[in-house]
Symmetry: C2
Subunit: 379 residues, 2 copies
């Protein structure tokens, strides 16, 4: 690289540095303004996530960008990233308390990751939160006596037993709710153990999310919805989207995605381990799609074996789904071994037809996902 | 929402709109400056992707952000997204041509997606590109007579035959290269068919990438590297990262990631189809992680069945890997069926130990990936 080039590049880079300074100041300004929006919403008790407003705003920006010959997708991606930041900051202001004097909120299993997350959100919303963990059963009666809401979030393997054995003496008007990733059995157990309001929930996200904005919480109505409606509104104020479902329908869908996902990832990692794969080599060769896959599998093994054993062993019904998958895998492998190329193409086309318009939609979505994975690369 | 609130929100939103106007102008300015950097690099023949410079710049910005109480990750993510945009724009300027008078570049299979992508990149770099597709073999001799570089990118099922039968009469000094996703057999075929320079490559990305920046191209050296070194430099100028590998080592690694990935995704889709899953329901319930998974599976079925049949059937050796996976799956399912919780926990811990520090690293990476997937949600 000759001197002239070096000089030119340095000049330009200084100019870029200057632009980035202005960019930082603009970001600071925007974050502060959005924080003020948050404060206003907070005092008015409005949800932090307003899909329509967001869509309208993004639409305007996209149009303005196009007029300036800037890719609309660029400004949308940047603004979406900024919104995430603002959602995270909402926590600093706290959240509007939907209902006063509900009494204590007791979180059974409050020391677990998910229990802590909900405890934190409820505290940020002004509710008096008491946690009851495995060693605290001595004070249970005192805690329950004052309780207006009891949330069960203990290991899935003992959830139903805890409900059946420990939660039969709650105050009449107290809300009994759970956060278990299966719903049929825990719902039945809660309805049997408690005569008051009953609510089943399944937060569709890991405890490592910084904010509940845009996250999904599946809601199964148990009994006396009008009594726990405030809790659902509270969760919406945290930014989450509520999806109502029948326990059975929820569990069936979960078997197909969740149990399958956990089990396949487990076997995938087990397989890599048994094959003594060299992760460094795999990463060297890794295209965004394989890096993503490795990350998704590796992620599982950073977590507690007991937790996963509980999740997988709890879903006895999912064994059928897992077994079906095995059969389909065997049949597909037969096609390969017998060199039945046409047979493979036929089933492929059959599945493609079944996916219908979702296939191209998923292709587009995954492209965006893979691009942002590629953006993260640093070497 | 009362009038006061509406009023306050409107005021703040007008201010935010104003900030976003300035943001757009700043983006426009930065894109223009980076385009000038591209032009300087172009004339100097420097690669568009400069990892060190990028890392240094991001480091400075992160520090400045922290000083302003802005999350360093926010500015890094925004700048990375901006860089992607700039890489895409590089195409408009074209690329520095590393070597003059190489003669024609003939792309055998030039009508395929990958062939078109490489044809486009080479044309943007000033090389005379001729494509030779299945119906053009009549003019083959004329095309080859003038050729300084022949790139084979035909369906994997016929690659070796095409090399063996059609590419034996290339000019002595002509470079013979391929882009096949397996390397051992095509390399052997090329070395046998041609006495001149031979180069094997495997682009580790789909033809739908907008730019080669940060993408990986695996390189297998065949013969007379000094004669094709310019091509490797050219690819680096496009922003790609070259990873050298022995054909066998490459193919073994690919069996574990690529073949497995394709086949598992295929079976996963087949399974959803056979279970008659309701995709709408799955998406309603979808947490970022399942949405990502569905998108990755669905993506496969938006593509050509023949293409995938070719890829999967071409890798006979991978059948072993796929078979091993099946066995591990069966064994794991046995643990489930026999209710051997401890056995499950033991293998889980064994795999976790094997992943070692990669597990937490992958957990962190995947968190970032999942966050950006969540950002994309619009309802």
């Amino acid at each position: 690289m000759n001197e002239k080039t070096t000089e030119d590049l340095e000049k330009l880079r200084d100019l870029i540095d200057g632009v980035d300074q202005q960019l930082l100041h603009l970001l600071r300004k925007r974050l502060d303004l959005v924080a003020q929006v948050g404060a206003v919403k907070h005092s008015a008790g409005l949800p932090i996530y307003a899909p329509q407003r967001e869509a309208a705003m993004l639409g305007k920006r996209r149009a303005e960008a196009e007029a300036m010959n800037i890719s609309p997708q660029l400004i949308e991606d940047i603004l979406r990233r900024l919104m995430r930041e603002s959602y995270l900051n909402e926590k600093d202001v706290g959240f509007k308390q939907v209902k006063q004097d509900v009494g204590n909120v007791v979180i059974v299993g409050g020391e677990g990751q998910l229990g802590r997350l909900f405890g934190q959100m409820l505290t940020l919303s002004g509710y008096p939160v008491k946690t009851l963990d495995k060693d605290d059963w001595a004070q249970a009666d005192t805690l329950f006596a004052e309780a207006g809401l009891v949330i069960v979030t203990v290991p899935i393997s003992i959830t139903c037993d805890v409900i059946r054995n420990k939660l039969t003496q709650l105050p009449e008007g107290c809300i009994l709710a759970d956060l278990t990733s299966i719903k049929t059995e825990p719902m039945a157990a809660m309805l049997a153990a408690h005569n008051g309001p009953v609510l089943g929930m399944h937060p569709m996200f890991g405890p490592d999310v910084g904010s509940l904005a845009k996250q999904v919480v599946v809601v199964c109505h148990g009994r006396e919805q009008e009594k726990y409606q405030w809790l659902l509104e509270q969760i919406e104020i945290w930014g989450a989207r509520l999806v109502e479902a029948e326990p059975e329908r929820h569990d069936k869908a979960m078997q197909l995605v969740q149990a399958m996902r956990h089990f396949s990832s487990f076997v995938y990692g087990l397989n890599l381990c048994k094959e003594q794969a060299d992760i460094d080599t795999l990463l060297q060769f890794s295209s965004p799609i394989y890096r993503l896959e490795l990350a998704m599998v590796g992620r599982l093994f950073a977590q507690s074996p007991e937790l996963y054993a509980d999740i997988i062993f709890a879903q006895q019904d999912s064994m059928e789904a897992i077994g079906d998958y095995l059969e389909n895998y065997q049949r597909a492998l037969e096609l390969l071994k017998s060199g039945d190329r046409q047979g493979f193409i036929d089933s492929f086309s059959q599945v493609a037809t079944w996916f219908g318009d979702f296939a191209p939609q998923f292709q587009q979505e995954s492209r965006a996902m893979l691009q942002s994975v590629n953006d993260m690369k640093s070497n």
